[in-house]
Symmetry: C2
Subunit: 198 residues, 2 copies
């Protein structure tokens, strides 16, 4: 069965976005290496360490489906119908946006059943590949529903002080995770966890 | 000049204490190794990895003074006048507790000047040894005053969901830290940071 995973770059004080410091602090590690990383947007040039580049390539290769919320869909203008990574996308939304779904599009909509419904649809599309949950809010919902299998955090050596927390509104706490790997980077530590199901 | 440092065991979601889960989750790593660690309390038996034990011994050897808030002093009943680690203690408090200071005691009180005042007193006592700031609240005050030099976090593979956050109410954010070392442990990752002064 497809593995459900979530990944974010998070500051040491727990934030994955900041009201004004959009990317410089959190995503600086994506450009502090020597090895070019192929990106979906030509205008962005990324260079990481060889180890980081290999891990990013692995994640891309195993990726089957991404689950997003409505805000990300709106912000991305629906990726023009095809996500730049070339994988199907499931959008969890209260109502299907006007003009959607579009013919030939790989963007799917789920309006019922919350995160469970979205992940059920994602499993149909993912086969044995990975399902990535694409926001902090959805990650929290998946954790709270007992549906998240893995969690990877790029822990950035910085304090953001405010913004959106990766881990908030968690239920069933306290609980332990299984640390699966640790990869020190440049101004960042990459951390892998398995979520231990009760 | 004495280095000012702070260390805490922190859950992945940022908490250093929990209303009911006092110690099991956060401090489990102190007893998951093979090497006995000498403690100040006979009833507690700690075993860590050899690397962790060496790091704890180093920290103990270099420790000069600990700065605490009034609540810790009260909870510890003033350590009976002598902190179990054998180092002088500075307590930052609005008023000196009744019956204190005591003769022969190495517990000092600072009632004015806030964290700056407490650290000035600590510097008098520390020589070239390390000053440890002993609570999340004092760590935040020291960070906000630009007086913290180093920060070490034992990042525990667990979610606590609620409690006291290590990093809260920070000022001057966003800002970067300098990652100085990373030591993977058993269900924990030990992280060292230098605070970069503007």
């Amino acid at each position: 069965m497809a593995t459900v995973t979530a990944n974010m770059s998070m500051s040491l004080d727990g934030f994955v976005s900041h009201p004004t410091d959009g990317v410089a602090t959190l995503f600086g590690w994506y450009s502090r290496g020597e090895v070019p990383v192929e990106t979906v947007e030509d205008r962005v040039e990324l260079k990481t360490s060889a180890e980081e580049a290999a891990a990013l390539e692995d994640a891309k290769t195993s990726l089957g489906v991404i689950v997003y919320g409505r805000r990300t869909f709106d912000d991305a203008d629906g990726w023009n119908g095809t996500h730049p990574l070339g994988v199907p996308v499931v959008v969890l939304t209260h109502s299907i946006p006007e003009g959607w779904p579009r013919e030939g599009s790989s963007v799917h909509f789920v309006t019922e059943g919350g995160i469970e419904g979205a992940l059920a649809e994602a499993r149909e599309l993912a086969g044995d590949k990975t399902i990535a949950v694409g926001s902090a809010d959805l990650t929290q919902q998946a954790l709270n529903a007992g549906l998240l299998d893995e969690l990877t955090v790029d822990l950035v050596a910085a304090m953001l002080g405010e913004g959106i927390r990766f881990f908030d509104h968690l239920k069933g706490t306290p609980y332990e995770l299984r640390q699966t790997w640790v990869r020190p980077g440049n101004g960042v530590v990459h951390l892998g966890y398995q979520v231990v199901k009760p």
